[in-house]
Protein backbone atom coordinates (compact mmCIF):
# COMPACT_ATOMS: atom_id res chain seq x y z
CA UNK A 1 0.00 0.00 0.00
CA UNK A 2 1.37 3.36 -1.05
CA UNK A 3 0.10 5.02 2.11
CA UNK A 4 2.37 2.80 4.25
CA UNK A 5 5.47 4.28 2.63
CA UNK A 6 4.10 7.80 2.90
CA UNK A 7 3.26 7.18 6.54
CA UNK A 8 6.77 5.89 7.24
CA UNK A 9 8.25 8.99 5.60
CA UNK A 10 5.93 11.20 7.65
CA UNK A 11 6.86 9.41 10.84
CA UNK A 12 10.57 9.93 10.14
CA UNK A 13 10.05 13.66 9.56
CA UNK A 14 7.89 14.20 12.64
CA UNK A 15 10.27 12.20 14.84
CA UNK A 16 13.31 13.99 13.43
CA UNK A 17 11.79 17.43 13.91
CA UNK A 18 10.77 16.55 17.46
CA UNK A 19 14.32 15.43 18.33
CA UNK A 20 15.68 18.55 16.63
CA UNK A 21 13.35 20.72 18.68
CA UNK A 22 14.46 19.02 21.91
CA UNK A 23 18.11 19.47 20.90
CA UNK A 24 17.44 23.15 20.34
CA UNK A 25 15.98 23.53 23.82
CA UNK A 26 18.91 21.62 25.25
CA UNK A 27 21.41 23.92 23.54
CA UNK A 28 19.40 27.00 24.46
CA UNK A 29 18.87 28.21 20.90
CA UNK A 30 15.40 29.06 19.65
CA UNK A 31 15.57 26.83 16.62
CA UNK A 32 15.25 23.30 15.39
CA UNK A 33 18.73 21.81 15.43
CA UNK A 34 19.28 19.34 12.62
CA UNK A 35 15.73 17.99 12.65
CA UNK A 36 15.61 17.38 8.91
CA UNK A 37 19.02 15.71 8.98
CA UNK A 38 17.94 13.42 11.81
CA UNK A 39 14.81 12.54 9.85
CA UNK A 40 16.96 11.61 6.85
CA UNK A 41 19.11 9.34 9.01
CA UNK A 42 15.95 7.70 10.38
CA UNK A 43 14.71 7.05 6.84
CA UNK A 44 18.07 5.58 5.83
CA UNK A 45 17.95 3.31 8.89
CA UNK A 46 14.38 2.30 8.07
CA UNK A 47 15.15 1.52 4.44
CA UNK A 48 18.10 -0.63 5.52
CA UNK A 49 16.13 -2.51 8.16
CA UNK A 50 14.90 -6.02 7.43
CA UNK A 51 11.97 -5.72 9.81
CA UNK A 52 10.58 -2.73 7.93
CA UNK A 53 11.06 -4.27 4.49
CA UNK A 54 7.34 -4.42 3.83
CA UNK A 55 7.15 -0.64 4.33
CA UNK A 56 10.01 0.24 1.99
CA UNK A 57 9.66 -2.14 -0.94
CA UNK A 58 7.04 -2.58 -3.62
CA UNK A 59 4.07 -0.25 -3.65
CA UNK A 60 4.97 1.19 -0.24
CA UNK A 61 8.38 2.20 -1.56
CA UNK A 62 6.68 3.96 -4.48
CA UNK A 63 4.97 6.21 -1.96
CA UNK A 64 8.39 7.42 -0.79
CA UNK A 65 9.87 7.63 -4.29
CA UNK A 66 7.00 9.83 -5.42
CA UNK A 67 7.93 12.48 -2.89
CA UNK A 68 11.60 12.35 -3.72
CA UNK A 69 10.66 12.97 -7.36
CA UNK A 70 8.58 15.95 -6.20
CA UNK A 71 11.64 17.55 -4.60
CA UNK A 72 12.71 19.69 -7.56
CA UNK A 73 9.18 20.96 -8.31
CA UNK A 74 8.83 21.88 -4.64
CA UNK A 75 12.14 23.75 -4.77
CA UNK A 76 10.81 25.61 -7.81
CA UNK A 77 7.71 26.59 -5.82
CA UNK A 78 9.96 27.59 -2.95
CA UNK A 79 12.11 29.78 -5.20
CA UNK A 80 8.95 31.40 -6.53
CA UNK A 81 7.83 32.32 -3.03
CA UNK A 82 11.09 33.95 -1.87
CA UNK A 83 11.43 37.62 -1.13
CA UNK A 84 13.61 38.20 -4.20
CA UNK A 85 12.87 41.93 -4.24
CA UNK A 86 14.50 42.31 -0.82
CA UNK A 87 17.52 40.30 -1.92
CA UNK A 88 18.02 42.45 -5.01
CA UNK A 89 17.41 45.71 -3.16
CA UNK A 90 19.67 44.65 -0.28
CA UNK A 91 22.34 45.77 -2.66
CA UNK A 92 25.93 44.80 -3.08
CA UNK A 93 26.67 43.88 0.53
CA UNK A 94 24.05 41.16 0.55
CA UNK A 95 25.13 39.85 -2.83
CA UNK A 96 28.80 39.78 -1.90
CA UNK A 97 28.21 38.22 1.53
CA UNK A 98 25.98 35.55 -0.01
CA UNK A 99 28.25 34.83 -2.96
CA UNK A 100 31.40 34.70 -0.84
CA UNK A 101 29.82 32.33 1.68
CA UNK A 102 28.76 29.98 -1.12
CA UNK A 103 32.12 30.04 -2.90
CA UNK A 104 34.02 29.28 0.28
CA UNK A 105 31.58 26.49 1.15
CA UNK A 106 31.87 24.97 -2.32
CA UNK A 107 35.66 25.10 -2.02
CA UNK A 108 35.47 23.21 1.27
CA UNK A 109 33.82 20.14 -0.26
CA UNK A 110 36.97 18.68 -1.86
CA UNK A 111 39.01 19.57 1.24
CA UNK A 112 36.63 17.82 3.63
CA UNK A 113 36.27 14.86 1.30
CA UNK A 114 39.92 14.01 1.95
CA UNK A 115 39.14 13.36 5.60
CA UNK A 116 38.60 9.67 6.14
CA UNK A 117 38.62 6.87 3.57
CA UNK A 118 38.12 7.78 -0.08
CA UNK A 119 34.91 6.66 -1.70
CA UNK A 120 34.71 5.42 -5.25
CA UNK A 121 33.45 7.92 -7.80
CA UNK A 122 30.02 7.02 -9.08
CA UNK A 123 29.72 6.26 -12.77
CA UNK A 124 29.14 9.49 -14.71
CA UNK A 125 25.56 10.75 -14.50
CA UNK A 126 22.95 8.77 -16.41
CA UNK A 127 23.56 7.56 -19.92
CA UNK A 128 21.12 10.17 -21.17
CA UNK A 129 23.17 13.12 -20.02
CA UNK A 130 26.33 11.61 -21.47
CA UNK A 131 24.60 11.23 -24.81
CA UNK A 132 23.31 14.77 -24.56
CA UNK A 133 26.78 16.09 -23.89
CA UNK A 134 28.15 14.33 -26.91
CA UNK A 135 25.29 15.58 -28.99
CA UNK A 136 26.07 19.11 -27.85
CA UNK A 137 29.65 19.05 -29.07
Amino acid sequence: MIIYGVALLSFCLVAGLYIGELLGQLLGVQANVGGVGIAMVLLVLASGSKRLRSLTTGASGEGIKFWSAMYIPIVVAMAASQNVVAAVEGGMLAVIAGVAAVIVSFALVPVLSRIGPQSEPLPPLEVLSAAEREGGR
Binding site: M40, K65, A80
Partner: protein, 211 residues
Protein backbone atom coordinates in the same frame (compact mmCIF):
# COMPACT_ATOMS: atom_id res chain seq x y z
CA UNK B 1 -13.33 35.27 -15.30
CA UNK B 2 -14.43 35.78 -11.72
CA UNK B 3 -15.74 32.24 -11.62
CA UNK B 4 -12.36 30.97 -12.80
CA UNK B 5 -10.35 32.92 -10.25
CA UNK B 6 -12.77 31.71 -7.60
CA UNK B 7 -12.05 28.12 -8.55
CA UNK B 8 -8.29 28.82 -8.61
CA UNK B 9 -8.41 30.47 -5.20
CA UNK B 10 -10.41 27.67 -3.63
CA UNK B 11 -7.95 25.00 -4.82
CA UNK B 12 -4.62 26.63 -4.12
CA UNK B 13 -2.39 23.59 -3.76
CA UNK B 14 -3.82 21.88 -6.83
CA UNK B 15 -3.31 25.06 -8.84
CA UNK B 16 0.28 25.14 -7.58
CA UNK B 17 0.92 21.60 -8.87
CA UNK B 18 -0.50 22.63 -12.23
CA UNK B 19 1.43 25.90 -12.52
CA UNK B 20 4.72 24.42 -11.31
CA UNK B 21 4.27 21.46 -13.63
CA UNK B 22 3.81 23.73 -16.63
CA UNK B 23 6.79 25.83 -15.53
CA UNK B 24 9.02 22.78 -15.22
CA UNK B 25 7.87 21.48 -18.62
CA UNK B 26 8.61 24.81 -20.32
CA UNK B 27 11.95 25.07 -18.51
CA UNK B 28 13.08 21.66 -19.70
CA UNK B 29 12.02 22.66 -23.20
CA UNK B 30 14.16 25.80 -22.95
CA UNK B 31 17.01 23.80 -21.43
CA UNK B 32 17.00 21.28 -24.27
CA UNK B 33 16.34 23.60 -27.19
CA UNK B 34 18.23 26.76 -26.27
CA UNK B 35 21.08 25.45 -24.15
CA UNK B 36 21.19 21.89 -25.50
CA UNK B 37 20.83 20.60 -21.97
CA UNK B 38 23.95 22.41 -20.80
CA UNK B 39 22.03 24.36 -18.19
CA UNK B 40 19.92 21.79 -16.43
CA UNK B 41 16.15 22.10 -16.76
CA UNK B 42 15.72 22.25 -13.00
CA UNK B 43 18.09 25.21 -12.75
CA UNK B 44 16.13 27.00 -15.47
CA UNK B 45 12.89 26.28 -13.63
CA UNK B 46 14.26 27.64 -10.35
CA UNK B 47 15.53 30.74 -12.13
CA UNK B 48 12.09 31.24 -13.70
CA UNK B 49 10.59 30.90 -10.22
CA UNK B 50 12.92 33.55 -8.83
CA UNK B 51 12.24 35.96 -11.66
CA UNK B 52 8.50 35.44 -11.22
CA UNK B 53 8.94 36.06 -7.49
CA UNK B 54 10.78 39.31 -8.22
CA UNK B 55 8.03 40.69 -10.45
CA UNK B 56 5.29 39.46 -8.15
CA UNK B 57 7.05 41.15 -5.24
CA UNK B 58 7.30 44.38 -7.21
CA UNK B 59 3.65 44.23 -8.18
CA UNK B 60 2.15 43.27 -4.83
CA UNK B 61 4.70 44.81 -2.48
CA UNK B 62 4.63 41.60 -0.47
CA UNK B 63 7.53 39.52 0.79
CA UNK B 64 6.42 36.08 -0.35
CA UNK B 65 6.95 36.26 -4.10
CA UNK B 66 4.18 34.85 -6.28
CA UNK B 67 2.45 33.48 -3.16
CA UNK B 68 1.19 37.03 -2.57
CA UNK B 69 -0.80 36.85 -5.80
CA UNK B 70 -4.10 35.49 -4.53
CA UNK B 71 -4.73 32.94 -7.30
CA UNK B 72 -1.19 31.59 -6.83
CA UNK B 73 -1.22 31.46 -3.04
CA UNK B 74 -0.98 27.67 -3.19
CA UNK B 75 2.60 27.98 -4.44
CA UNK B 76 3.46 29.35 -1.01
CA UNK B 77 2.03 26.19 0.52
CA UNK B 78 3.78 23.90 -1.95
CA UNK B 79 7.12 25.67 -1.47
CA UNK B 80 6.62 26.17 2.26
CA UNK B 81 8.53 24.56 5.07
CA UNK B 82 6.32 21.53 5.50
CA UNK B 83 6.34 20.21 1.94
CA UNK B 84 9.98 21.17 1.49
CA UNK B 85 11.18 19.20 4.52
CA UNK B 86 8.96 16.27 3.56
CA UNK B 87 10.46 16.09 0.08
CA UNK B 88 14.03 16.66 1.26
CA UNK B 89 13.78 13.77 3.71
CA UNK B 90 12.35 11.47 1.05
CA UNK B 91 15.48 12.01 -1.07
CA UNK B 92 17.45 10.09 1.57
CA UNK B 93 15.47 6.98 0.59
CA UNK B 94 17.75 4.44 -1.00
CA UNK B 95 20.96 5.77 0.53
CA UNK B 96 22.93 2.91 2.02
CA UNK B 97 23.93 2.99 5.66
CA UNK B 98 27.53 2.17 4.76
CA UNK B 99 27.73 5.36 2.68
CA UNK B 100 26.47 7.35 5.61
CA UNK B 101 29.11 5.86 7.88
CA UNK B 102 31.84 6.74 5.40
CA UNK B 103 30.85 10.37 5.62
CA UNK B 104 30.98 10.06 9.43
CA UNK B 105 33.64 12.29 10.98
CA UNK B 106 34.02 14.42 7.89
CA UNK B 107 30.26 14.99 7.98
CA UNK B 108 30.32 16.27 11.51
CA UNK B 109 33.29 18.53 10.77
CA UNK B 110 31.52 19.92 7.73
CA UNK B 111 28.46 20.99 9.73
CA UNK B 112 30.66 23.13 11.95
CA UNK B 113 32.90 24.25 9.11
CA UNK B 114 29.86 25.31 7.07
CA UNK B 115 28.40 27.43 9.84
CA UNK B 116 31.65 28.97 11.09
CA UNK B 117 33.08 29.75 7.66
CA UNK B 118 29.85 31.37 6.46
CA UNK B 119 29.63 33.45 9.62
CA UNK B 120 33.20 34.70 9.28
CA UNK B 121 32.73 35.51 5.59
CA UNK B 122 29.55 37.46 6.35
CA UNK B 123 31.19 39.34 9.20
CA UNK B 124 34.24 40.23 7.11
CA UNK B 125 32.07 41.58 4.29
CA UNK B 126 30.06 43.62 6.81
CA UNK B 127 33.26 45.17 8.18
CA UNK B 128 34.52 45.82 4.66
CA UNK B 129 31.34 47.77 3.99
CA UNK B 130 31.96 50.00 6.96
CA UNK B 131 29.83 48.45 9.67
CA UNK B 132 31.77 48.79 12.90
CA UNK B 133 29.21 48.02 15.62
CA UNK B 134 29.20 44.49 16.94
CA UNK B 135 25.42 44.10 16.57
CA UNK B 136 25.38 44.72 12.81
CA UNK B 137 28.45 42.60 12.14
CA UNK B 138 27.07 39.68 14.12
CA UNK B 139 23.65 39.93 12.48
CA UNK B 140 24.99 40.07 8.93
CA UNK B 141 27.39 37.23 9.71
CA UNK B 142 24.49 35.16 11.00
CA UNK B 143 22.51 36.03 7.88
CA UNK B 144 25.31 34.61 5.76
CA UNK B 145 24.77 31.34 7.61
CA UNK B 146 21.04 31.27 6.93
CA UNK B 147 18.36 33.83 6.42
CA UNK B 148 16.37 32.29 9.22
CA UNK B 149 19.11 32.74 11.80
CA UNK B 150 19.93 36.30 10.70
CA UNK B 151 16.75 38.02 11.88
CA UNK B 152 16.52 35.87 15.02
CA UNK B 153 20.04 36.88 16.03
CA UNK B 154 19.48 40.48 15.01
CA UNK B 155 16.31 40.84 17.06
CA UNK B 156 17.88 39.12 20.04
CA UNK B 157 20.86 41.48 20.21
CA UNK B 158 18.99 44.58 19.12
CA UNK B 159 20.54 45.28 15.73
CA UNK B 160 19.13 47.93 13.39
CA UNK B 161 16.37 46.87 10.99
CA UNK B 162 18.72 47.77 8.14
CA UNK B 163 21.23 45.18 9.33
CA UNK B 164 18.44 42.63 9.73
CA UNK B 165 17.17 43.26 6.20
CA UNK B 166 20.70 42.89 4.85
CA UNK B 167 21.22 39.65 6.74
CA UNK B 168 18.04 38.21 5.25
CA UNK B 169 19.10 39.35 1.80
CA UNK B 170 22.54 37.78 2.19
CA UNK B 171 20.95 34.51 3.27
CA UNK B 172 18.52 34.55 0.35
CA UNK B 173 21.29 35.27 -2.15
CA UNK B 174 23.20 32.37 -0.69
CA UNK B 175 20.34 29.88 -0.84
CA UNK B 176 19.53 30.97 -4.38
CA UNK B 177 23.14 30.48 -5.44
CA UNK B 178 23.35 27.09 -3.83
CA UNK B 179 20.26 26.00 -5.76
CA UNK B 180 21.41 27.31 -9.12
CA UNK B 181 25.14 26.84 -8.70
CA UNK B 182 25.28 23.25 -7.56
CA UNK B 183 24.73 21.54 -10.92
CA UNK B 184 27.26 23.90 -12.50
CA UNK B 185 30.15 23.41 -10.08
CA UNK B 186 29.54 19.75 -9.23
CA UNK B 187 32.19 18.57 -11.66
CA UNK B 188 34.90 20.92 -10.42
CA UNK B 189 34.64 20.23 -6.70
CA UNK B 190 34.66 16.44 -7.05
CA UNK B 191 30.95 16.01 -6.40
CA UNK B 192 30.81 12.61 -8.06
CA UNK B 193 30.77 10.11 -5.25
CA UNK B 194 28.35 9.29 -2.45
CA UNK B 195 30.71 10.59 0.21
CA UNK B 196 31.28 14.06 -1.14
CA UNK B 197 27.57 14.39 -1.96
CA UNK B 198 26.67 13.56 1.61
CA UNK B 199 29.20 16.14 2.82
CA UNK B 200 27.85 18.62 0.35
CA UNK B 201 24.30 18.15 1.53
CA UNK B 202 25.37 18.59 5.13
CA UNK B 203 27.57 21.60 4.37
CA UNK B 204 25.00 23.37 2.22
CA UNK B 205 21.66 22.31 3.60
CA UNK B 206 22.81 23.04 7.12
CA UNK B 207 23.63 26.59 6.16
CA UNK B 208 21.69 27.60 3.10
CA UNK B 209 18.55 28.41 5.02
CA UNK B 210 16.95 25.13 4.14
CA UNK B 211 17.29 23.98 7.73
Amino acid sequence: METLSGVLRANGLVVAFMVVGITVWLSYLVSNRLTRGRIHGSAVAILVGLIAAYFAGKATGGGRGVADVSVLAGIGLMGGGMMRDFAIVSTAFGVQLSELKQAGIAGIISIFAGVIVSFIVGAVVAIAFGYTDAESITTIGAGAVTYIVGPVTGTAIGASSEAIALSVAAGVVKSILVMIGTPMVARYIGLNNPKSSMLFVVLMVSNSGVA
